[in-house]
Amino acid sequence: MEITAAEALIRCLEKENVEIIFGYPGGANLPVYDALYRSTRINHVLVRHEQGAVHAADGYARVTGKVGVCLATSGPGATNLVTGIANAYMDSIPLLALTGQVSTSQVGTDAFQEVDITGITLPITKHNYLVKDPRKLPGIVKSAFHIAATGRPGPVLIDLPRDVAQAMIEFKYPASVRLPGYKPTYRGHPTRIHEIAGLIKQSHRPVIYAGGGILSANAAAELLQLAELISAPVTNTFMGLASFPGDHPLFLGMLGMHGTRYANLAVTECDMLIALGARFDDRVTMHLQSFAPEATVIHIDIDPAEIGKNVITHVPLVGDVKLILRALLQGLEKIDRSPWLDRIRELKAQYPLTYCRDGRLKPQFVIEQLSRHTQGKAIIATDVGQHQMWVAQYYHFRQPRTLISSGGLGAMGFGLPAAIGASLGSPGELVVLVTGDGSLQMTMQELGTMREQGLPLKILMLNNFCLGMVRQLQEFYCEGRYMGVNFTFHPDFELLAKAYGMTGYTFRTEEDVIKLLPEALATPGPVLINCLVPPEENVMPMVLAGKGIAEPVDR
């Protein structure tokens, strides 16, 4: 029996076990919505802006590990996805973006709501497709899921012209994909693994530098085993946070620009740096020549292009980090490194993370309390800015996939929609959005989506009446000439909470936090907590541009 290509698309999604689509309808994707109408297995979440759809799909993917799916119409619908697609690309998140397109006869004529979205998203997708032949659609969808979820994950976009969506085809979902140019390497080379095991045994001061790849590969358990077996301290990149227990004695916290001093000093002093699923990002290395100057660098990553891109690697190994770690663990025995671990303890004692408690409500204090009350086990979504760095520093994550945040792209406005996606992907779990007064107002419209979906999000807003991270940059780089960073108007956030049927709180003092935070977190339904914090508080330590990570400023 023949069905429309749009119906075939929905059947393909069902075959891929898609349970939820975040979308926004329009003219060009009408056939797809018409097909969705008949689906009993896919739940459609209507967002308030397409950017919300793509970030929500991203948040859902980060929590579940599945491919997140979002759907938009042509033209503005498609362009509104762009930030979110770029975000997923930078953070290697598996995502499928479906866009409607004008009919094939109109493509290229500057038709109403036409944009060349495959052209626009070329540099920010792992791959994309413009479907011209309806019979090829099932194969394309199959390939898209395969490409998005395997190897180094990433977003894939399928652009579906309206007439193609309406064409009748015989539906058959292919059992396999044919992609001669796409064959990710999973198994690490055994000789190399053996060589690495030998080098680890010889090293005296190893540091494990673990990134988001650990989470993509679900290799947190193997990471913990390795660290304990070889007695190596672990530092995380921002993307790698939550892949190693935040309260573990071997944990050094985050490294880099706003990393802990002890993580940065350990990396500077180490004789071996074991990079696992990390990419030596500029916010991690800062001044390249002074990064891990004494270390033999072992770089394990699934993406060959990351190896040797920024730093010279002594021992490269391409493959799936989980499989490689399992193989590596077999070739290793318990190694005791008391002198090195003593040194780490010394560094931790000498340079702890600190902030000044002067009676005012400090943002760091709020995050510390949040970490304590949730025992590091809540799912924490964040936006981008100072609050995000304070979460990275003061929240002690205990379980993988519990930090939902925009790392590589640093897209403000990510938080709320991503928290919505994360919450839908983890029913019954406590999801806390830590955000700022700047970020929240970028995608605040999604409060409507949150309510409609009945999600009990706890939104903790660190409100300093300014764009704190930029303000901090202007303090350091522009000698305090604050331009375009101060808000002179804010809505009444308690009234805003009320307007969206949320319970509103305002925290002004440490006592408020101590007394009311547990209550706010335990309140059923959505909660908006407005924490009034001083605008001049800076994220410290901070490594200034051009400096090595061992020489941060403290305040």
Partner: protein, 194 residues
């Protein structure tokens, strides 16, 4: 899409970079619309310079072959190769300039030629084994194939007569002997991580 501006200007100096040299990459890609844009876009956004690029069909109708000339040191070429490999439509990449290879470029030159000069120009063409492919009242069009050096020499020898129009196909290249850069061949592709 050949003949970079600096070559037209006669600038041959290559600046900076240890071990910097021209590499010729044979890139096999799926014969699909948009592949050229993907490859060209990758070069521009990653800041790699293409010296020349040609595309054409191969023995397999589903596969096209690009010959890309890139100028850079080994590290850059490694990055170019790895980034190209990330494109789903790219099947295989071989840096054939690491081995013995043959390369050819084709040029067509329309040169000013009064009837009295034709014999002289034809004799010159003979030296380069070029052929006359068209004749106008005051022009001659010649075709010549060869490697880059020969084509450049041919162009120089015609320059005094007045070159009215010139077009080059860009370089195509192939490994010598029984080695292949094609699909399923034994030649080690430089994508291998080891």
């Amino acid at each position: 899409m050949v003949v970079p501006a600096r070559e037209l200007l006669g600038v041959v100096a290559v600046e900076g970079g240890f071990g910097r040299m021209k590499h010729t990459l044979a890139v096999l890609v799926e014969n699909r619309p948009g592949v050229l844009v993907r490859v060209a876009g990758l070069f521009s956004r990653r800041g790699f310079n293409i010296e020349s690029l040609t595309v054409g069909r191969t023995e397999n109708p589903d596969v096209s072959r690009m010959t890309i000339e890139v100028d850079g040191d080994d590290r850059l070429i490694e990055q170019v190769t790895k980034q190209l490999h990330k494109l789903i439509d790219v099947i295989k990449i071989s840096d054939i300039s690491r081995e013995e290879y043959v390369d050819r470029d084709l040029v067509m030159i329309k040169v000013a030629a009064e009837p009295s000069q034709r014999v002289e120009i034809m004799q010159m063409a003979g030296i380069f084994r070029a052929r006359v492919v068209d004749l106008g009242r005051k022009t001659m069009t010649l075709e010549c194939t060869g490697n880059e050096g020969k084509i450049n020499a041919f162009e120089e020898s015609l320059r005094p007569y007045g070159i009215k129009e010139l077009v080059r196909t860009g370089k195509v290249a192939m490994l010598r002997g029984s080695k292949f850069a094609g699909v399923g061949s034994g030649t080690r592709s430089s994508s291998d991580d080891e």
